[in-house]
Amino acid sequence: MAARNWIFAVAVFLSLSTFSSAQDLQIVNAERRIDLSSHIVKAFLTLKVENIGKDPAADMLLAFPPTQIKNLAMVQALAVMGKKKKKNYLPLDVKPSEQPDAPNDAGYFLVSFATPLGPGETVTLEVLYILTHSLEPFPVEITQSESQLVYYRDSAVVLSPYRIKQQTTFFKTPSTRVESFTSVEPANRAGKEIKYGAYEDRVPYSYAPVIVHFENNSPFAVVEELVREIEISHWGSLQITENYRLTHGGARHKGVFSRVEYQSRRSISGSSSFNALLAVLPPRVNSVYYRDDIGNISTSHLRTGFKKSELEFEPRYPLFGGWKATFIIGYRVPLEDYLFEAPDGRRYLNFTFGCPLVETIVNKLTLKVVLPEGSKDPSAVLPFAVNQDLQVKYSYLDIVGRTVVVLQKDNVVPTHNVPFQVYYTFKPIYMLAEPLMLVSAFFFVFVTSLAYVHIDLNIVKK
């Protein structure tokens, strides 16, 4: 098989470049389950790592091919502690890493063990990584009555700088309709699952490209740009405004859109389109609105709950492949749920990062935290790297302007919906600045008019 020859060629080429740490570790067993059921590809990788060197190893590398590294939204690793019944997971520190002699522009993530791995010891790691924009529609354009077929390209074997003794890979497709998949023996398909492996004893940087061509009609909701603005008012509320630019990221719609077919034959017509979205909002949310540039959109439904609120809404029109829509969601939450005072006297906002829409990819997320006028020394604390910036915004009757902490991150998936904190110092006396200003302005107006009425400006006495 051509593919197999190629793998060996790559393997031989890659094995020439060696790493000091790569020699010390080996992976005893690797099991990878790739979930292709939505457009966010989730890969669960279970690695059993053994230290075969002489020195304790403090960290290990995870390698990703260059096509994946740019679509990689998130990598998380957990160390499995304890035995079967009393299993618990310890989150490990994962950060991107540069290797000077990386073959073929492969990307790396460095996983630091909780405790250095002694010689001969093994540890089991659970790695989750999430890929976006990795399902390529084929055919690229479909009509209203067709369903959407996509390619997924990956390797049958796990790309790793370490030798892997034994490994299997499972692809889970959303339906049983699989047009084709590359066969790398042993590979077979059962129902919604395609199994590659088990493969024995692969050298470092083994690679076996596979293509899976299957049906995926899940909503490819991609937010091209999301700007969330969180405005803190110490008068008791947090106003959140979210500007969405949504697009259908799947196969482009071709030709006619027939409403009569869309309405009467809903099951087969426009199966890859979507017209309903779900946003998970905080509990105790109030004053929710949903609109766009030209006014209110009336198709939404809010359910409030104790743990979360759910906003079910429809864009103005159903979204077919390549169609776009923009809208704004705004809401208000009580301040006391999210603003706290740190032990050192500073205040901090504790809010959720990411996009409230369920199962969507955000290509570019800008989160702006507008601090009240007069606050100082802002600093943001996040569990992952983002671009940070400071701006000034002038809102109602501001004079010096409000400090805005701008957090910007690309390629955001729902797993990024984790709390973050923004610390700042604020003196409550500033709260009175604007009311006092108004009062003095009115006072001034009345005093002037009083004076004007009582002063005689006539030159000639009457």
């Binding site: 006619v256 027939s258 309405q263 006014g295 009336s298 829509a325």
Partner: protein, 778 residues
């Protein structure tokens, strides 16, 4: 009250005056709040959104102004509309409204109040209706005192006719123009009463603002000369009249010529000639009065005969020149809309495009009751009150109401000009009636209770009447004298004193029995209550729908039809930014504003031929229509279709205008071809031309598949032709309730191949007929 009055004059009366001033100021503030808040029904029931058609254009212009600044605005050539002609917006739009809203927006943002342009636009009209009611107060106060002023202001704050044009979101020229109109009239009357050049200058500036705001300024520049003429004819000429009029004409015309859309029209068109004619007359009259003042009566008579004979000759020459000038222009120098005002049948005869607009139709009787309600009954009483006594000011409002009644009878839209006049008249009537009734009640009560002090009553009655009718008036007067310190007292008093005196004299005669007055008072209050109820109902139910979103109340709750915005949003996000969209002109403004796409025609109907082209395309068969649209570079065609949900103002119902306007320019479209028994029908009786025209096809394409038989809910009939295919257009979007359907022009067929094929067929057939031998490769 009696106790206060019996006290010696001095502090208590000053207190009373101050109290009256504060009270009327408070009432005015409340009236302003009322005027503003009664117009918010649309925001509360629907949403804060711009309404209808023209406001969308104004909104778009305001957006442009706020983004690019005033200089860019004057030079704005809009290439998004009237493709491929474009439109010079800066030179063809009345800029008053947009400049006003733009200034408000700019000021608010300068003090860091970040309201959006849309919000400012939505609330401009309610704010200005508060201003308008204050202006009405001022105007009526000048005519009949502050009691009448307050009543008129309260009436105007909620008159349905004005509400219909100024609800929140109705961002149209009329929103600010009515305020400008009333305020200009107020300043004119004020100048007339005071003779102050200061007010005359202000008047010219107010007139300038009116010219900026609305084409209806011609009403002012014709009404005021008429009033001046009336005053002169009735022998009421005074220097005050001269001060009130001459500066207005000179300054006003100069200022009006500054507005690009008016420009030299301010001296060239017939609408303005009346003012110049009266300008000449008032100078002649002023000269005559001056000469009369310096000559002895005998000499004067001689002079008159001399001047009249020469003057007549000069006048004849001038008139002849004017007539020749006017006659040389085809429409006699009048614009189409003005002509249709003078001759109500003009538009329907010559300009179908003006006639096709529903607001240019004459109103029906019920619409008077709907729009001004009980004011219609109070107006005659007000007119009578204005005649007793007749002053310069009251003769002006009488003239105003007479003229506006005529104009409102011609065009339903001008009901709006009638409304302030009706409010002023009714305010005067109500206030006078209340004066009489409360006065006689007081008189009867005091005469009953104080039988013993009979001599007191007569002395008391006079000051009391004076106080009750003009108490706030007097208070105002005192305050004003203190405030402005212009020493107008001298001019004012001679004008005022006789009227006050005559009032007192008349009041004494008008003492009614106690019971009758109480009953009449109650009836008046009931009338007022009925008016308020009607106004609130009109504001809440009749005039608040934004017309871009429709609602219907069904058994399972409110149902919203938001199809227009659905399809505009679709156009704006899913078509190329330079694509051209063809639709009937009604939807032009909305398409450019909401979908940001280039349109062929829009609601500014300046080019009849262009509109006729679109009308022709819509009424042509598919292929011919495709060719017309393709020649205009059109990519999408948008039609509005109400047959699924029963929305009556759709394109099929407007179709007769498309045929009529199209046929007016392109004679191959004949209205008779679309008519069966004089009616536009789309059922099985419809003519073949009708069933094959583009509009029919685009509206009813695949309509039959919705219910199986193609039942049109607007026309209440099954459609004539049910199953057909489109060859040159393809459906690209249909909104949820089918109200808007968008089609794309199919690309041109590959011409070379088609021609070769045809040629081949022809040659082959030709060959086969001539010789049996065939080329085996063909």
């Amino acid at each position: 009250m009696a106790a206060v009055e019996s006290l010696p004059p001095g502090t208590p009366s000053a207190m009373r005056n101050a109290f009256g001033t504060v009270l009327s100021a408070l009432i005015l503030v409340l009236i302003g709040v009322l005027a503003f808040s009664i117009r918010l029904f649309s925001v509360i029931k629907y949403e804060s959104v711009i309404h209808e058609f023209d406001p969308y254009f104004n909104y778009r212009v305001t957006q442009f102004l706020s983004k690019n600044g005033i200089y860019e605005f004057w030079n704005w050539f809009d290439d998004r509309t009237w493709y491929p002609l474009g439109r010079v917006i800066g030179g063809t739009v009345y800029p008053g409204l947009t400049l006003t809203a733009g200034t408000i927006w700019w000021v608010l943002n300068a003090i860091n109040i970040p309201l959006s342009v849309e919000t400012v636009c939505v609330f401009t009209a309610p704010v200005f209706s508060a201003f308008a009611s204050w202006a009405t107060y001022l105007l009526t106060k000048e005519v009949k005192g502050s009691g009448a002023g307050l009543a008129a202001a309260a009436l105007l704050a909620m008159v349905p006719s004005y509400i219909s044009r100024s609800v929140a979101g109705s961002y149209d020229n009329e929103a600010v123009a009515i305020f400008a109109l009333i305020f200009t009239f107020y300043l004119y009357i004020k100048t007339l009463n005071t003779g102050s050049l200061f007010y005359a200058t202000l008047n010219a500036i107010a007139y300038f603002y009116m010219v900026c705001s609305w084409g209806g300024y011609t009403f002012i520049i014709n009404l005021i000369p008429m009033h001046v003429l009336l005053c002169i004819v009735t022998g009421r000429y005074s220097p005050r009249l001269y001060i009130a009029y001459a500066p207005l004409v000179v300054l006003g015309t100069l200022l009006a010529a500054l507005v690009p859309v008016v420009g030299f029209n301010a001296v060239l068109t017939s609408e303005h000639f009346a003012s110049f004619l009266v300008f000449i007359i008032i100078h002649v009259v002023a000269l005559v009065y001056y000469i009369k003042g310096i000559l002895t009566p005998k000499m004067f008579k001689v002079a008159v005969t001399l001047v009249v004979s020469i003057g007549l000759v000069v006048c004849l020459i001038v008139v002849a020149v004017l007539v020749a000038l006017v006659a040389s222009s085809p429409t006699g120098g009048w614009s189409g809309r003005s002509l249709s005002l003078l001759d109500p049948t003009y538009a329907s005869k010559y300009i179908p495009i003006i006639a096709s607009v529903s607001e240019h139709q004459p109103p029906t009787w019920p619409s008077y009751f709907m729009d001004i309600n009980v004011l219609a009954f109070l107006v005659p009483a007000g007119i009578i009150a204005c005649f007793s006594p007749l002053s310069d000011a009251s003769s002006f409002v009488v003239l105003y109401i007479v003229m506006s009644v005529y104009f409102s009878g011609v065009m339903v839209r001008l009901m709006l000009v009638l409304a302030p006049a009706a409010c002023i008249m009714s305010g005067i009537a109500l206030s006078q009636a209340f004066d009489v009734f409360t006065g006689s009640i007081k008189y009867q009560l005091s005469s009953k209770s104080k039988d013993d002090a009979e001599d007191n009553t007569s002395t008391k009655n006079a000051p009391k009447d004076d106080a009750s009718s003009g108490k706030a008036d007097k208070g105002e007067e005192v305050a004003k004298e203190r405030l402005s310190k212009k020493g107008k007292k001298k001019e004012r008093e001679p004008a005022e004193k006789p009227s006050v005196k005559s009032k007192i004299v008349k009041k004494k005669a008008l003492v009614l029995p106690l019971e009758a007055s109480i009953v009449a008072l109650l009836l008046l209050i009931m009338l007022g209550a009925f008016y308020v109820i009607h106004c609130v109902w009109a504001a809440a139910e009749a005039y608040s729908a934004p017309s871009i979103v429709l609602t219907s109340q069904s058994h399972d709750g409110l149902h919203v039809f938001d199809d227009f915005r659905e399809s505009y949003a679709w156009l704006s996000h899913n078509t190329d930014v330079d694509d051209k969209v063809a639709s009937w002109w009604d939807y032009g403004y909305q398409t450019t504003a909401m979908a940001n796409r280039t349109v062929i025609v829009d609601n500014n109907t300046w080019n009849n031929t262009h509109i006729a082209t679109v009308g022709t395309a819509m009424s042509s068969p598919e292929k011919a229509a495709w060719e017309i649209f393709n020649s205009l570079d059109v990519k999408y065609v948008l039609v509005v279709f109400g047959g699924v949900i029963g929305y009556p103002s759709d394109d099929i119902n407007k179709f007769l205008w498309m045929v009529r306007i199209g046929g007016g320019e392109f004679p191959h479209i004949k209205e008779a071809d679309y008519l069966r028994d004089g009616q536009y029908r789309i059922d099985s009786e419809a003519t073949p031309t009708m069933l094959n025209c583009l509009m029919y096809k685009l509206c009813y394409y695949r309509f039959v598949e919705t219910d199986g038989k193609g039942y049109d809910r607007v026309r209440r009939t099954e459609i004539g032709k049910k199953h057909f295919k489109l060859t040159h257009f393809e459906e690209v979007f249909t909104s949820h309730h089918w109200m808007v359907r968008i089609y794309k022009l199919k690309p041109q067929k590959n011409r070379i191949r088609g021609r070769v094929k045809k040629l081949k067929q022809k040659t082959s057939s030709g060959v086969s007929s001539k010789s049996v031998k065939k080329n085996p490769w063909m």
